[in-house]
Amino acid sequence: MAAPATPAARDWEALARRARWRRTAGQSLLIAFLVAVSLPIILPYFWMFTISVSARTGGVESVVLWRASSVLVPAVVGFGILRIFTDDRRRLWAGAAAIAAAALLALLLLVGRDLHLQNYRFLWNPDIVEEIRGAATASIQFPSVWVAFRNSLALALTQTALVLFVSTLAGYYLSRFQFPGRGGFLQGLLVLHAFPAMTLIIPIFLLMYWSGLLDTLTGVVLVITTLELPFSIFIMKGFFDAVPWDIEMSAMTDGASRRQAFLRVVLPQVRVGMLAVGVFAFIKGWEEYVFVRTLLFDKQNWVMSLYIFWVSEDIMGVDYGIVAAVAVFYILPSFLLYIFCQKFLVQMSLGGIKG
């Protein structure tokens, strides 16, 4: 081999300087990039919230938005810096508390007077749209928001229960049993999983019409459940696949039947999977729009997505404080679920693809 580069010829000092510079500059640049591209996502949510707690007829809310931002942005940046430079847990908490207190105080001083909950009066006043537009001009007689809320909850919950029940059973069977045509069934399911159900909306509408399920919550629940199935069956099958065979085999040698082994021994092992599938199904049911818009007409059958849609259609130009408040009310359940169950959901979307 040829002679090596003489080490003395290398300018180690310069290399170290460059590395140092690259590390700090590189990381800051990447984080700055992430902040820049994420602002367009965070800001509108914040804007909606701001409108909902500050809009009156007049338009102070943009002042509120920028004042609040001028407090919150430094607070968040300050917290980030604190995190980077403090390893000590107690100091971190103290620092965070101080920043939060300062931000709260500043917010109170700057925008406190402009905040109010008047826009949330739709929660106790069922005739809100008529009140705003005048009964004569409102195009539709609106039901109370609680009717829509109850329908949404019923739809999402029954849908979740159904999806869980059906996909757990099927997932277990596909994971653990051999039967003629199993390969074909799984491949077919895979095609359905990738196949876009949205294209079937016309025939589904007709089937509902012919079977008398049109404009019933039951019909919508069945449809949405089925469309979720290929995905959730695969997820559940994946979780069952991960349960060791030994557990089941030893349960069966201990005298349990196959069904008892499933209920007592295997099912408890896939609780995480069921939680994930359940949360995901709930969020899907809660947000569903296209199918409910197509399959439900009667105002007493409205779910939250239809309620907010018609509210915004009707009074967006007149009073968008109320629209924003309804939107905040509607997004809250899925938002909270998302925050608390994030880990499962991310796992899920991966599991779903890997099959």
Binding site: M1, A2, A3, P4, A5, P7, A8, R10, W12, E13, L15, A16, R18, A19, R20, R22, D87
Partner: protein, 355 residues
Amino acid sequence: MARIELRKIRKQWGEVVAVEDLDLVIEDGEFVAILGPSGCGKSTTLFMLAGIYMPTAGELLFDGIPVNEVEAKDRNVGIVFQSYALYPHLDVRRNIMFPLKFKGVPKAEAARRAVEAARLVHVEELLDRMPSQLSGGQQQRVALARALVKEPQLLLLDEPLSNLDATLRLSMRTEIKRLQRHTGVTTVLVTHDQIEATTMADRIVCMRKGRIEQIGTPEDLYERPDSLFVASFIGAPPINLLPGEARDGRLAVGGTELELLGAAAGRVILGIRPEALRPGEGGLPATVLDVEPMGRETLFLLETPLGQLRALLSGATAPYGAGDRTAFTFDPEDSILFSESSERRLPDVHVRLPA
């Protein structure tokens, strides 16, 4: 080639200290093995030499110049990983040429050097294969070629033999040693296998819990271990260790007393290697408890007044059977004493069987 110096090197992950105050000089062209049980910080040390990890404190010098912050890509070191880490999408030739791509070596010359490096490790006929088509031993050789092709000033080997089967390991040991002699590159080998370390390296650095226990030649570590840890880590079958009490020129061990040569007092631990024990008239009376044939040698488990001892005798056929009574003796120079409290060796202290 380079002379490597570590001065009070320390590596911490949050609160966890992986390597603590490491002082070590590796001479130009030397072959050094870092030996220790898993989790002792040996791989962390290696990765700091490579520039993959940055030391938390201390100074790392290449030829007297600090390189702590120089990036891995600028250090001109070659490394062979335990898993070989061949790039799966590149064939053998491109794998070997990969490092040259970033050194601005012209394509034709890079190709020539790749062939040269492949020839050096006897894989020239595999140049057009993909890594997935190679056996473990072949991947290992390719990884070596890739590490050597850039003519590194430092070659790092991270447990390079642990994924190979026993016969292959033997031949690769010789092979790597030959390559190191041939290229004269400063080499650091990390291993948990004492045989690898003793057979390949000029010097061994024995580490435990992030600290250096002893630095020395294989003979040093075997014959004059500085500590109880080194004594018990090196040597197979392991050294016999017997607790005792030194007083007035005598050492009380088990149910008997030995004559103390040199000054020692208090609680000590006596170490005698199995291969230092041999049958001898007038020695320790011993009852053979068990016989383990080990091929060319035979291991005896003995009950003696000192306690239970392992003795290793050469010869495939055992001169004694279980239950036989005989006598064993050893040379005073083969006995090692350690202080029980500090676990360090008591230099120039030995014991002799009473006449």
